[in-house]
């Protein structure tokens, strides 16, 4: 066991605080709904609490694990997660919720397979970019292989379908390649290629088209497609500067769909107001800044890419979620890391932070 001095204390504090805050918000947002649906107002609180305990255990374990371990097993891990994405599509193994097969049923817990796939892909990218070094500038070695792996992942994710995770993965991949030195024109051309594909995907699936239309003009159909975002705004906007007070929100009373999961940030806005919103957003920004600092200080390129990828993943998810809740972006089905209810997301996020913290213990110099 290596020394643990020098880990980024701020990151640890941010993440533990956000996780605890998440448990409180999950309880506030879900208790009445849980009482009605499960006759137990603590249902989601208990489960989220348990996930957090396990998750913090996993985080500590990852923190104590030399991150080079992940370099060694990057490819098998990627293959495992690919297998998971395939398994979830097999009827009987995957559990279908709301028309999407995103979960593999385990005893007492359903695993959302896209969550481990995200971290596995980042580990693979970090490993590969580190291995190829200068060769990343070349199209055939530094760009095409990643695009193929990414296309495979996205293909499997879109079969679920999970557009939110697909966009997250594509976004994180782009930023990581950009930082690793891929020529911007390749990335730009990829965006140009992706645009018609994305357009096709959006227009092809009725629910996605409706989401886009609802995003563009939610008032066109406020009781149907525009309902969720309008309800989100009502809660968020009515919160004002100081909020209604923790637990005093009304929108969670069956007005706002997904109040304890994807739209929990709206409940934060309603109950804790602008102050709560800015504090949470600032904590995420601070987390991102500290993560970038870890990447800059990492002792090798693998650590640098891995730390950067993890940071981008968490930051991307957090700010896209906030953008969706405040109506800046169309609805995607993305959780707010550490805060939204959901075991897979919380476990993987805490695990990723554990890896990040381990990287932070091995700096090559002080900045």
């Amino acid at each position: 066991m290596k020394k643990l001095e020098g880990y980024d204390f701020i990151i640890l504090m941010m993440v533990v605080t956000l996780t605890c805050f998440g448990i409180v918000m999950v309880y506030s947002a879900s208790s009445i709904m849980a009482a009605k649906r499960f006759h137990d107002s603590f249902y989601f609180l208990k489960r989220q609490g348990l996930f957090a305990l396990v998750g913090i255990g996993v985080m500590i374990a990852a923190m104590l694990t030399d991150y080079h371990f992940w370099r060694k097993y990057a490819v098998p891990i990627l293959l495992f997660s690919l297998a998971g994405l395939v398994l979830v599509l097999i009827p009987g193994l995957g559990s279908k919720i709301g028309g999407a097969s995103r979960w593999i049923k385990l005893p007492g817990f359903s695993l959302q397979t896209s969550e481990p796939a995200k971290i596995a892909f980042i580990m693979y990218l970090a490993y590969s970019l580190d291995k190829k070094q200068e060769k990343v500038q070349f199209f055939s070695t530094g760009f095409l292989p990643y695009m193929l792996v990414l296309a495979l992942l996205l293909g499997l994710l879109l079969l679920q379908p999970d557009l939110g995770a697909s966009i997250t993965l594509a976004g994180v991949a782009m930023v990581m390649l950009f930082v690793a030195g891929t020529r911007p024109r390749y990335l730009l051309s990829m965006v140009l290629v992706a645009m018609p594909v994305l357009t096709y995907l959006v227009l092809h699936a009725d629910y996605r088209r409706r989401r886009i239309l609802a995003f563009l003009n939610p008032w066109e159909d406020p009781t149907n497609t525009g309902f969720q975002i309008i309800q989100s705004w009502i809660g968020f906007g009515a919160g004002g500067i100081f909020g209604q007070g923790l637990g005093e929100g009304k929108q969670k009373l069956f007005y706002l769909p997904e109040a304890h999961t994807d739209f929990i940030f709206s409940v934060v806005g309603e109950e804790l107001g602008l102050i709560g919103v800015l504090v949470i957003a600032a904590m995420f920004l601070l987390l991102v800044m500290r993560g970038i600092r870890v990447a800059l200080l990492a002792e090798d390129d693998f650590g640098r890419f891995l730390a950067f990828g993890i940071t981008i993943l968490l930051g991307f998810e957090a700010f896209v979620n906030m953008g969706v809740v405040t109506g800046l972006l169309p609805t995607k089905g993305l959780a707010l890391p550490f805060i939204s209810y959901g075991g897979s997301s919380l476990l993987i996020s805490l695990f990723a932070v554990g890896v990040l913290l381990n990287i932070s213990t091995r700096t090559r110099r002080a900045l």
């Binding site: 009445i32 070094q133 200068e134 930023v175 950009f178 930082v179 690793a180 030195g181 705004w233 009502i234 809660g235 968020f236 906007g237 009515a238 919160g239 004002g240 500067i241 009304k250 929108q251 009373l253 069956f254 007005y255 806005g269 107001g273 602008l274 919103v277 800015l278 957003a281 600032a282 995420f284 920004l285 991102v288 800044m289 970038i292 990447a295 800059l296 640098r304 950067f308 981008i312 930051g315 700010f319 906030m322 953008g323 405040t326 109506g327 800046l328």
Partner: protein, 657 residues
């Protein structure tokens, strides 16, 4: 040492960091826009969505009869609704609800179909049924309290009381006329609710308090009303008539004691009846009065002194031509004195009196009697009848109007005008509501008798009363209205109806009526009976007069009015054991009228009013102690016992209820 590649990577990493700062700034700006700048808009929308204004509908006031018996009361009941969107298994829910609601499974399923937010399943359920539906515990099935109007006496006084709809608004009768009085003030409570429409916690904010509706007390007496309805129905059925009306009024005050129409309806289920049956025909339908009208003619002629009671007229042996038309009498008469013209109801005699009086005078008196204008009774839908302006009277009109043809009046107008003859010449305004009280019995408004105007002098009225008594004497047209123990003054009426198709008088459709007052020497009641299209006989004296006498005798006994004859007044009493009027009448029929021994023997005072007891005691020179109020219920010594000392004599009174 770091190479160029790493330096570039560092720059790019910092660039991404800067990008996140920018994203944070956008997010913060968006939050400020939504939560600070647009805060008011969203707050308003949130309130509109979360708050529910609950109307607090107060219980409707009670309608009482003159003795305080409840005629219309409000009962709180559960109404059952469904929120189909919240029902998980619509089919299963329909199957479970159907037997309790008494509907088929398909009917219930149909109600629940269509993804509606709210649908009434059944309103105003019995407590038992509501309990059983609640017991099913189906999610999406809810209950609200609604007050239901209940009429405990069913058909009794239905046309007067009227009825309400499911929503507590009066639709007819007193319920309609005094709707705002009975309704009270609706209050408002603002509560917060969740998206399922359930109230959240008890954070209700009382914006406006509700106040209970006022109670309305009628002049109507439930027992007299019952008598009138029963006898009217009997009379209409007996002659095969289409329908009829009966009215009982207090002539001195204009108080309506009973108002009945046949056929009647049950106000507890008013929706089952055709609108025609719901009409209060006694005030909203006018008819040609016929011979009853002669009373106003003779009264006017006497008052104007164009005739004297002893004058006689040649009745032309039953056929008299005037203005190109021929007037007939039912029997052929030669010369008839004025009282006989009334007694035998001669049209020719009436026509001649009319001609002598002149159209200006007749018209003026008819107006004075209230013909052609609404009485102003406190009920909705009153008709004014039809009296042509005298400038429109041509040729034979004066003659025919003199005996009640070519003019129409409502039963209420006739009863009101007759009351003016009965009470010594004053036209009173008929009314039904005597008092409005609040929940704690404080009087809010008291209605007093309203004197419209003097129409004829007391002397003329006295002469008229005497003449009208003759109508019920042997040989008169109204002999069937006569009573053995009371003097009756009245007049029969028979008129032809105008055929709606031919616009001329129908040959077989008649209206038979009798209107009069009892006891003639001290009138207590004016009674009007009208039978529409009687089949067995067209004559008021045959069809309506028996009903008049039946209503009169039972009502007088119920009111314990002493029989006519000054001396008997104080010595004859009615043995009445209970408050029920029908039983009192039965007792009378069985000959329970006792002659109390005068002198030192204690009479039976049971059932007498305080005034009657006092008058009697005064006559006997006795000193008597009286306690309580109402009717005599106990006395000492007992009836028939000797009175030894005056100080032991007492009579205790109690109110009937």
């Amino acid at each position: 040492m770091r190479g160029g590649k790493e330096k570039w990577a560092d720059i790019r990493i910092r660039l991404v960091g800067a990008l996140f700062v920018a994203i944070f700034a956008v997010t913060a700006a968006r939050a400020i826009y939504l939560q600070v700048i647009k805060n008011q808009d969203w707050t308003k929308m949130a309130e509109r969505q979360h708050q529910r204004v609950v109307a607090l509908t107060p219980a409707r006031g009670t309608i009482f009869d003159a003795n305080g018996a409840a005629l219309a009361v409000s009962v709180e009941m559960d109404s059952c609704f469904a929120e189909p969107r919240k029902i998980e298994h619509l089919g299963a829910a329909a199957a479970r609800l159907a037997p309790l609601l008494g509907m088929s499974k398909e009917t219930v399923a149909k109600k629940l179909a269509g993804n509606k937010n709210f649908v009434w399943l059944q309103r105003q359920l019995t407590p038992d049924l509501a309990g059983r539906i609640k017991g099913l515990e189906i999610e999406g099935i809810g209950f609200v309290k609604e007050t239901r109007r209940f009429y405990p006496n069913s058909e009794v006084a239905a046309h007067v009381i009227g009825f309400t709809g499911l929503d507590p608004a009066g639709l007819e009768g007193i319920e309609f006329k005094y709707d705002s009085t009975l309704l009270g003030n609706t209050g408002f409570l603002v509560t917060e609710r969740d998206a399922l429409g359930r109230d959240v916690a008890l954070k209700g904010m009382l914006v406006k308090k509700s106040s209970k509706g006022y109670n309305v007390k009628l002049t109507l007496d439930k027992n007299i009303q019952y008598i009138a309805e029963k006898e009217l129905a009997k009379a209409v059925v007996a002659c095969g008539g289409k329908g009829g009306s009966a009215l009982v009024m207090e002539p001195q005050t204009g108080k309506v004691l009973a108002l009945a129409n046949y056929p009647d309806f049950n106000p507890n289920a008013s929706y089952r009846y055709p609108p025609l049956l719901l009409r209060n025909r006694a005030i909203s339908d006018s008819f040609e009065p016929g011979s009853t009208f002669k009373v106003f003619l003779v009264a006017a002629a006497l008052e104007e002194k164009v005739i004297r009671p002893n004058d006689s007229f040649n009745c032309e042996n039953g056929s008299y031509s005037i203005g190109g038309k021929t007037i007939h009498d039912t029997h052929n008469y030669g010369r008839l004195a004025v009282p006989e013209i009334l007694k035998y109801s001669s049209n020719i005699g009436a026509a001649k009196i009319g001609i002598r009086l002149g159209k200006e005078k007749l018209y003026a008196y008819l107006k004075e009697f209230g013909i052609g204008e609404k009485t102003g009774v406190d009920l909705p839908g009153e008709a004014s009848g039809y009296l042509r302006d005298r400038s429109q009277w041509f040729g034979v009109d004066l003659a025919t109007i003199s005996f009640g043809q070519g003019v129409t009046a409502t039963p209420l107008q006739m009863a009101t005008a007759f009351s003016a003859v009965a009470n010594g010449g004053v036209l009173m305004k008929p009314y039904l509501v005597s008092r409005i009280t609040d929940d704690s019995d404080t009087v809010i408004q008291q209605f007093e008798p309203f004197r419209q105007r003097r129409v004829i002098s007391p002397e003329t009225a006295r002469i008229m009363t005497k003449m009208l008594q003759g109508v019920t004497d042997e040989g008169g047209t109204g002999v069937n209205a006569a009573l053995a123990s009371y003097k009756v003054a009245g007049k029969t009426g028979t008129s032809q109806k105008v055929d709606a198709v031919t616009k001329s008088y129908s040959l077989d459709k008649r209206v038979a009526s009798f209107v009069g007052f009892v006891p003639a020497d001290n009138p207590r009641l004016t009674i009007m009976v009208v039978v529409d299209e009687p089949k067995s006989s067209p004559y008021g004296g045959v069809v309506a007069a028996p009903a008049f006498s039946a209503i009169a005798i039972q009502s007088l006994c119920y009111l314990k009015v002493a029989p006519s004859g000054a001396d008997q007044l104080t010595t004859r009493v009615v043995e009445a054991k209970g408050p029920a009027p029908i039983r009192a009448f039965a007792a009378l029929a069985e000959g329970a009228i006792v002659e109390a021994a005068a002198g030192s023997v204690m009479p039976n005072f049971t059932g007498l009013s305080m005034r009657q007891v006092l008058r009697n005691m005064e006559k006997q020179g006795l000193n008597v102690r009286l306690t309580g109020s109402g009717r005599a219920v106990a006395q000492n010594p007992r009836a028939g016992e000797r009175i030894r000392t005056t100080d032991q004599v007492w009579v205790r009174f109690a109110s009937n209820n």
